[in-house]
């Protein structure tokens, strides 16, 4: 096994292990590490939505960004860039979050849920693969959000600076920050453990380029299974860990923070997968890229946060009782919007000046 493959397996395996450990230390079941759920909780913690059960500034996200930032500094891979269809990326992040909150989890949590025996997550993963496969067809037909260009160095530090500010708010607990008293937001591992886990995952994700959507995408496009090894490692380690601690319960019904509506589990993740492919990676990858100085990815994360705010303020998000009509309508409109974005951004490669072919 090559060094790079060992690294991606180590990153996935560590994420799977730490997810089980974080649940044992207090995180909600099958939610040891969920980028969408944790960004939603942060959104609520900042008061941008008022869904009382999901408000908490999650240190896992802060740690992930700080870890990826430190790794990119150490390897001189920190590079402030941006300006590639920034607002379109914001909108795609927003739409992806609508889909993920209908499903109740990001691609990472989909794997963690399946490793906990939640078969609804299997339906969601099928939807994710479908969304990625559709997105790949757009990429093959020339879809591009264009080139990012170098930015002034200070721009690249802003996102990580925001995470430091969030950490200060978490520790200081000022009165304008919201902390859930019941529900998933009230369930959390100790701050130091969650922050440490995030740091480790951030370093490993930055070094390995771990990306859940990228793994499926590369396999469909190039038959390249490299990133899929990380995907599989998360599943295997979390499955073994859940079996070891007695947290594995197979079935569709009564799964933690999940619903059994297969159609909307599927379509929610189809929307998320399609949007993520057009964005160039899953929410985890967007956080890592933002930490590396990519301001487009930082804006994508802002779109994801905006999606969380809209989902909860307008009652679109799924819940253990199912998906509200508003959420169903939002997913359908989201799929239409992603189709339009995909269609209008696919000029021929030669016309967009990407490939400079020259015979000699």
């Amino acid at each position: 096994m090559s060094g790079k493959r060992v690294l991606v397996v180590a990153a996935g395996g560590t994420l799977g292990l730490l997810a089980v450990v974080l649940v044992a230390m207090g995180n909600p079941a099958n939610m040891g590490y969920c980028v969408a759920c944790f960004l939603r909780d942060i959104t609520g913690g900042l008061g941008l939505h008022r869904a009382a059960p999901v408000q908490y500034i999650r240190p896992e996200i802060i740690g992930l960004v700080l870890g990826a930032f430190l790794a990119s500094q150490a390897t001189k891979e920190f590079r402030p860039i941006g300006g590639s269809s920034s607002f379109t990326r914001f909108v795609l992040g927003f739409l992806a979050m609508i889909g993920m909150l209908v499903f109740l989890g990001c691609p990472v949590r989909a794997v963690l849920r399946l490793a906990g025996g939640d078969l609804n997550a299997g339906v969601g993963l099928l939807g994710l693969v479908a969304g990625v496969a559709i997105g790949v067809q757009f990429l093959k037909s020339g879809f591009s959000l264009g080139r990012a260009v170098p930015q002034q160095k200070g721009n690249g530090y802003l996102f990580t600076g925001l995470m430091v500010l969030l950490l200060i708010l978490l520790l200081a607990r000022p009165s304008f920050i919201f902390f859930s008293e019941k529900g998933p937001g009230s369930m959390h591992a100790p701050v130091w453990a969650a922050l440490g886990a995030g740091l480790v995952i951030g370093v490993l994700a930055q070094r390995s380029r771990l990306c859940m959507v990228g793994g499926i995408r590369d396999f469909i496009m190039f038959r390249d299974a490299h990133l899929l090894y990380g995907f599989v490692a998360i599943f295997v380690v979390a499955l073994v860990g859940n079996l070891a601690v007695g947290a594995f319960k197979i079935g569709f019904v009564g799964q933690p923070v999940a619903h059994t509506d297969g159609l909307w589990n599927f379509l929610g993740m189809t929307l998320a997968g399609w949007a993520a492919v057009l964005l160039g990676g899953c929410p985890l990858r967007q956080l890592v890229a933002a930490a590396e100085g990519n301001t487009d990815s930082a804006l994508t994360v802002m779109g994801i946060i905006f999606g969380a705010a809209v989902s909860h303020n307008f009652g679109l998000a799924g819940s253990p009782t199912g998906v509200p009509a508003g959420g169903q309508i939002a997913v359908v409109l989201g799929l239409i919007a992603v189709f339009i974005i995909g269609y209008v951004n696919r000029p021929a490669a030669v016309k967009r000046g990407v490939s400079i072919g020259k015979g000699s």
């Binding site: 790079k4 390897t75 891979e77 590079r79 860039i81 590639s84 990429l139 093959k140 591009s144 959000l145 264009g146 080139r147 990012a148 260009v149 170098p150 380029r209 990228g214 995408r217 590369d218 496009m221 190039f222 390249d224 490299h226 160039g280 990676g281 890229a289 490669a349 000046g353 990407v354 490939s355 400079i356 072919g357 020259k358 015979g359 000699s360």
Partner: protein, 71 residues
């Protein structure tokens, strides 16, 4: 035969996709690929090597030049 691909500033998978198109179009020869991130360098290298192309990596200022050759 030499073909050049300018994939600077593009996020994955575009650099890999454009490289694949160039490799497929050329069959053999030399393809020079300019990328601007370590991730793109790794992904393009992996694709080329898996298809039997030799990869030489050269730094070019802030950018990375990959010279892919196949006899």
């Amino acid at each position: 035969m030499v073909r050049e691909v300018d994939a600077r500033g593009l996020l994955c998978p575009e650099p890999v996709l454009l490289t694949k198109q160039a490799l497929d179009a050329l069959g053999a020869g030399t393809v020079k690929v300019l990328v601007s991130s370590a991730a793109a360098r790794e992904n393009v290298s992996r694709l080329a090597e898996s298809r039997g192309w030799q990869v030489e990596v050269l730094e070019q200022g802030d950018d990375i030049l990959l010279v892919l050759t196949k006899k």
